[in-house]
Point group: C2
Chain length 266, copies 2
Amino acid sequence: MKRILIVSAHPEPRSLNAALTAFAVDHLRAAGHEVRLSDLYAMKWKPTVDADDFPDHVSQEDRRLHVMRDSEEATLSGRLAPDIAAEQEKIRWSDALILQFPMWWFSTPAILKGWIDRVFTSGFGYGPEVPPPYDDNGSALAGRRALLSVTLGARETAFSDRGIHGRLTDVLHPLQHGLFWFTGMTPLEPFAVYDTDRMPAERYAPAREAYARRLDALFTETPVPFRPLTGGDYDHDMRLLPGRERPGTEGLDLHTRPAPRPGLSR
Amino acid sequence: MKRILIVSAHPEPRSLNAALTAFAVDHLRAAGHEVRLSDLYAMKWKPTVDADDFPDHVSQEDRRLHVMRDSEEATLSGRLAPDIAAEQEKIRWSDALILQFPMWWFSTPAILKGWIDRVFTSGFGYGPEVPPPYDDNGSALAGRRALLSVTLGARETAFSDRGIHGRLTDVLHPLQHGLFWFTGMTPLEPFAVYDTDRMPAERYAPAREAYARRLDALFTETPVPFRPLTGGDYDHDMRLLPGRERPGTEGLDLHTRPAPRPGLSR
């Protein structure tokens, strides 16, 4: 039995995203897991970071709001706004985190970005008082699996290797590597449903079945092989050392370990 | 004389982002341009897309909210929420758009993501009633230059070609290519100030001067050479045709035209 937190971000309770969320809750519970749900629209989640997030700051009118410093002080002193503290507690409790959202403008809806901005404070997700980032053995949130479940209006070809929207893996890099891996979580390959703009009803059952297989493998499948910062691959300026990558590799692919070539024993 | 819209997203009026915004407004006006400013925190911008954005929808309680369809209908019928319509009018008015923000979690603050989510509706930024995307000659917002001005807590090396955070150009791809280029705008190289977490005061003047040089070149510098969808480089499934790229290129670099090699006349 594991503990799973699902964070869902869609304004319409009858949407595909809401259906996938409800399905995941039921499916994981039926498998014996504990599940908690943060349905951000239903919770009327406040998306904007501001001084109200750090109650101690409010009384200091003459002091500039410095988001990183003030969020860190509030985190370490246990004086964050209660809605933020509650979400942090859910993440600490969890063995796995699932983010369910429609891709809007090649990223999360603003309400989910605001959950990330406000919850992953310095002192909680990273920062001087916790171990260094990019390390699944020791970073702040290490030990948790992390899955993006995303719906996309576009066709899959447009997000394929040569698709004009960019590879899905590159478009989601800020979340997979920048949020999950940075804080020490273990990112899995995203689960994606394409061409959902006016999706016919008969496509829902196959999508749900495909999602069920991913949920069943949540704690067993091989994660994305991002490189740890502290594993000897990077220099002191956080740059990948020469020669560590497959020859010709560029861009974001530098930061995954090269896959063993098929047919080559290692 | 040109018309420039600056959209700024920081909660603290005494922040570096606020200073760069104020500097840009003054500098561009001193050069004879017209400038409008959307200071999202000062405006208390609503970040979340919901049914209130489309007043005609509210009266139809039994109808599911379908964000793309409902936003498109509201856009084409002139029935969007007034705050959205006002921002669309500013963009239509502009010859250039500047987004000023601190990078939070490898993306924009939620309030700015919510400006993007709500303002760039189907029917305005893209959609069946406007020309196809990814074309600076014809897409919905063609004719406008677009500049990201971003502050980053990290050091520049961590966002360099081999830096662990990913190349800045890849991390900003969802905005540069996914928002600006998709809607037909002409993206420039981003302006970035690094290592801003506790930036000493003496670094502000050089940063301001560097920004001034970029602002002076807003309408003259060479833009990022993204490929147009309709220029013959992509197939009908929106995939780059074989052989169009510099050999060995992969990932997001596929979608820029190869630079002429130094010393090679073309």
